[in-house]
């Protein structure tokens, strides 16, 4: 119990510190507010310019959703959440390396991998608050939020979908500890996730082998389940194949991520890499 209390103190420290730093650079909040609508407008514009007046009709036929604005707003909100989660640990570590504070965390008794994961919470809090504030009105206005139970179910699916992303984030963080350069790999992984998750189109537009490949991404299942629940008004059984796959990924990816991080961390202690930046 005392151990948990001590870890809670470390968690509080990370939370308060990151909140303060983020709120002293407040401009990104406006980006979170604006981006879902901006991107949604962008895709609608592209759709109309390609398909002309029949764009909405084609869209409904291909996606099963009649409101493209809603479809893209939800897709962009999820995309933002995913991207922040994927890059946050890696970029936080990079920032600590440059400040000279990274190595200092290894002088404290708290386990460092846990500290880096804790960095996600303050960022996620702000992101979730902003995204809910911006997308909930649209969802409510569109009549999507008719069932609060479905909405809570959707939130639980979202939370479950974040766990495998944590695992990927830790694996990316391991690369930063080793190579001190998050940009290239993080961008590459983010591009694959954006391309194969189906944020902005149904994955049926791709050949079968691409759709099969996309099944290893947790985001593919999250977006598919959320669309069923919120946009198509379909129920999703707890034994749904997508939900079970997501559950398996939520166990496997954090284990792989933690193993990779701890392995590179130990290697960094052996090679004297902790102090390099």
């Amino acid at each position: 119990m005392e151990r948990v209390r001590r870890l809670a103190r470390a968690a509080l420290g990370v939370y308060v510190k990151e909140m303060k730093i983020w709120l002293r650079y407040p401009t990104w909040i406006f980006a979170f507010i604006a981006l879902p609508y901006m991107l949604s407008g962008l895709f609608n514009g592209i759709g109309y310019s390609i398909a002309g007046p029949r764009a909405v009709e084609n869209f409904a036929r291909n996606t099963g959703v009649s409101n493209p604005f809603l479809f893209y707003t939800l897709g962009t909100a999820l995309l933002l959440a995913t991207e922040v989660l994927l890059q946050d640990v890696a970029y936080s570590i990079r920032s600590e390396q440059l400040l000279g504070t990274f190595e200092l965390h290894y002088l404290a008794p708290a386990p460092t991998w846990l500290i880096w994961i804790l960095y996600l919470f303050p960022h996620s809090t702000i992101m979730v608050v902003v995204l809910l504030a911006t997308t909930l009105p649209v969802l409510a206005f569109s009549g999507v939020l008719s069932s609060p139970i479905d909405f809570l179910y959707a939130c639980s699916v979202l939370a479950l979908g974040m766990l495998p992303l944590l695992g990927i984030a830790l694996a990316l963080a391991a690369l930063v500890v080793r190579y001190k350069e998050p940009g290239a790999v993080v961008s590459l992984v983010q591009s694959v996730v954006i391309l194969l998750s189906g944020y902005f189109y149904p994955l049926t537009v791709f050949p079968a082998w691409v759709s099969a490949l996309s099944q290893v991404l947790p985001t593919t299942h999250v977006i598919s389940i959320l669309r069923s629940l919120l946009l198509a008004g379909e129920g999703v059984s707890p034994l749904d194949r997508r939900l079970l796959t997501l559950l398996a990924l939520a166990v496997a990816y954090p284990v792989i991520g933690l193993y990779s991080y701890r392995r590179w961390e130990s290697e960094a202690r052996r090679r004297g890499e902790l102090s390099k930046y």
Partner: protein, 334 residues
Amino acid sequence: MEEAIVAEGLVKVFYTKERKSLFRSVKRRVEALRGVSFSVRRGEIFGLLGPNGAGKTTTIKILSTLLLPDAGEAWVNGFHVVKEASRVRECIGVSLYSDRGFYWKLTGRENLRYFAYLYQMPRREAEKRINEVLKLVGLENDADRLVEEYSTGMKSKLNFARALLHDPPILFLDEPTIGLDPASARRVRELILEMKRQGKTVLLTTHNMFEAELLCDRVAIINRGRIVAINTPSELKRRVGRNNVVEVEALNIPPSAAEALSSVRGLRRIYTRIRDPASSMGELRLIFEDGVDDLGDVLSAISRAGMKVLSVKIVEPTLEDVFIELTGEKLGES
């Protein structure tokens, strides 16, 4: 356990890459530590004195669990630095950089608060301790300013405060006064002595012989990854011998000064320190085997070499003389 720190046969090898061209690099093996052994008694200030690259920081990083040794073992406060790393971390305070390692967008107090929480201190205890250490280092009036507004000296004091935050019995200080102005350096030295008065054990690294003499109860002279001597500063200086060192201040000191004076009787070693390259003005430091027989002989040899003598003094040996005596190198050379 009488000893606060014990190191036995520490070995550390690094592999670095030397870039020869865009695509070609050569791996180089650097032996940072070659069997370093020493122990530090409780309550003493122990100095690791050596030039840059001697292995001082590597030793501190192994002892503070940041680096794994390739061979050898070490214990801090009775805990093994590899097998009981988290127990070691609980009882050490470490100051590694004088002006890095802070969150610039947080105040000094907020920085300390964050590290207090990382050390898992209860909130009330943390606040009390933060106020104590801020007062101790003299930052209480600047505690609520952002660190980006701090001077180098203030950051150094904050760094020191952070090392003391959880009131550890053992402190590791890596070059604690490097880059500081004389007044700030003096304040940091006073703080180190205050820590000793409080009963803490301090292991500090320095290449500043004056600092080592002033602060340390015992000094280990380290060079090229090996400890070449350990003793009290006065015992170490006794190796060179009283009345064996002559300091000559002169003009026009040629690069071949040592060669020109090699014929002086009883001269064991000579080294020069140029202060003004334009006039080649500086000091010649002559170490004799067994006292100075004839200063006239020395002065004539200096004149013959074209130098103009400004002053001559028989001086007490310094730790730098000891270092040169033991290694044949100047502190800044390795």
